[in-house]
Assembly symmetry: C2
Homo-oligomer: 146 residues x 2
DNA sequence: AAAGATTGAAGGTTCAATCTTA
DNA sequence: TAAGATTGAACCTTCAATCTTT
């Protein structure tokens, strides 16, 4: 009901800036070095890691926590870019990384790892890491009964 | 270069989930209760706080750290929704909140404050707040020479 | 009917190109 | 010319409506 305290407002501002900066920096480095967007990277990663390059569209969506429609739109774009193919199979659609898609994700992995390290992991002091992780876990958890 | 360690990967995953959850929850509550999107809220807040309801478009963009084009697109939509007006003035454009816009932001403020408190501030333990803020500040700061 | 998937529209962001005006 | 602003295209996300197949 009442306004935020100065402390709360500062925390909110710092949080927004940090969330924005980390997302932007990692995404920009990934795109600049590999041409893959963040969603591209996520989709290709799961195809390779979970399905050795191919998964049912439905499983892919579930593994990413995405709605059908979001994945459908994303795959339409990735298909046009030559990263994946879609094939109708009984009961759904089979998604497969193309060789270009596999090559792109292979090239992108070390770039992504380096960016995560540089823009996130390296900036959290070792002594604080456990507590920081615990707080993040609390923030990410499903809201309890309001 | 090398892969992320298990700790680094976990931190990255927790960070992404938390950033996503906080943004989504606050944005959803704001939209559900007031019809304002996050960008709408930001624009109207600054118009009221910095300019008593009206600012030069250029100043508005600078105060938000937005590119001209982003603000231009956003204002086009907000004008259509009746939240702001734009008027040509010597050297630029004057943006003003309409009475509907002013009413919307007045109604939205307590909702936003409550959401920030519920989904962010209240979940950071008081004992950890200072260190947490310091880490966020480090994450948000401009990258030093790479 | 139910599950899997697609589609279109609207909102948002970014980039490059363009227009306008001081 | 340079600063302020707009525009269009491409990308992404969400929602609701609509197939399509089992």
């Amino acid at each position: 009901m009442s306004d935020l305290t100065a402390d709360e407002a500062e925390l909110w501002h710092l949080w927004k800036s940090a969330a924005d900066a980390v997302r932007t920096r990692i995404g920009d480095e990934l795109a600049a070095a590999t041409g893959l967007s963040d969603p591209d990277f996520g989709v290709l990663s799961r195809l390779i890691d979970l399905g050795a390059g191919t998964l049912r569209q439905n499983e892919l969506a579930a593994s990413m926590g995405w709605h059908r429609s979001r994945l459908s739109h994303q795959l339409t774009r990735m298909e046009e870019r030559g990263h994946v193919t879609r094939t109708a199979v009984p009961g759904g659609v089979q998604v497969a990384a193309t060789s270009a898609g596999a090559a792109a994700i292979a090239a992108a992995r070390p770039v992504h790892a380096a960016a995560v390290r540089a823009h996130l992991a390296a900036l959290v002091p070792p002594a604080q890491r456990a507590e920081f992780a615990a707080t993040l876990r609390r923030l990410g958890e499903a809201a309890t009964a309001d």
